[in-house]
């Protein structure tokens, strides 16, 4: 997978992701895309945003390599918007966001859930360390400066990689 998101090097990955999915409408458009919607009027009907904003959001999503715009009809030309591979890779992020809210609700209070379409069973997803199976909420996991950290970030982390907030 190629990175289409244009950012400077040594940038915090949280900032980069926020630049892509940090806007309210963008997340809802992506949700629509994951549900199989592809067209302008579908997005507008489902989400209820103005056409000018929808145009702007779709453009930046295409520019960021999350969606591709493809004509599905000529004369007059009509486009559909499809998730790229980079865009599809955002699904775990949306899933984690939805799961956070759902975890605060009883199952019968949930307005939207993740399901295994093979069985119809509701899924309560988890973010884990694949090497050990542990949840990343475990206090043993922490953010740290990576190899490409610039001076500000490196100094910020210097000497305090193990100094965590009390987790209980």
């Amino acid at each position: 997978m190629t990175a289409h998101v244009r950012v400077e090097d040594r940038e915090c990955p949280l900032s980069t992701t926020m630049a892509v999915v940090g806007e309210w409408w963008t997340v809802l458009i992506l949700h629509d895309c994951f549900d199989g919607f592809t067209r302008f009027d579908q997005f507008q009907a489902n989400i209820g945003l103005s056409s000018s904003m929808l145009t702007a959001r779709l453009r930046t999503l295409v520019e960021n390599g999350i969606l591709t715009k493809r004509p599905y009809r000529e004369r007059p030309v009509r486009h559909e918007y499809l998730l790229t591979e980079l865009g599809r890779s955002l699904r775990p992020v949306l899933v984690a966001m939805a799961a956070w809210r759902n975890a605060q609700l009883a199952p019968e209070e949930r307005a939207m859930i993740l399901v295994d379409t093979g069985t119809g069973r509701e899924v309560e997803p988890a973010v884990i360390d694949p090497e050990t199976g542990r949840h990343v909420a475990d206090p043993r996991y922490a953010f740290a400066a990576g190899p490409a950290a610039g001076e500000p970030m490196r100094s910020r982390y210097a000497g305090r990689e193990r100094q965590l907030a009390p987790e209980s």
Copy 2:
């Protein structure tokens, strides 16, 4: 865990989560909190936002039950901001966001990583279905209307729960 986020019932959980972590500065403040920072000037120095904005962001985080404000000194009174249990439960969401960006980069290009502090090993986290261990990016998983879905969402999903976008 109690839900401190005030939203109407039958609301899309993505919208609710976006209301909490949808703002750029908020995510960076939370990142600081997970790194163990607790004080106003630390946030300001690390993030570089104006004091008025920082005040506003901290207030909404406290109102949403993500942080608690606690005096650590009297005369003059000084506060520290600590993650609540609800706030700590947001870490998997931030982890998933950072992991999305890092997955596009070679290991040596990463400015910030997740580490297992027990071993120092870098972690490449995954969002999975704990029942099967499968990644939620697998096309068998999809969003669907939950029991508390209101009419708009229910009708939107009606009859199309299995109609997914092509995943390849």
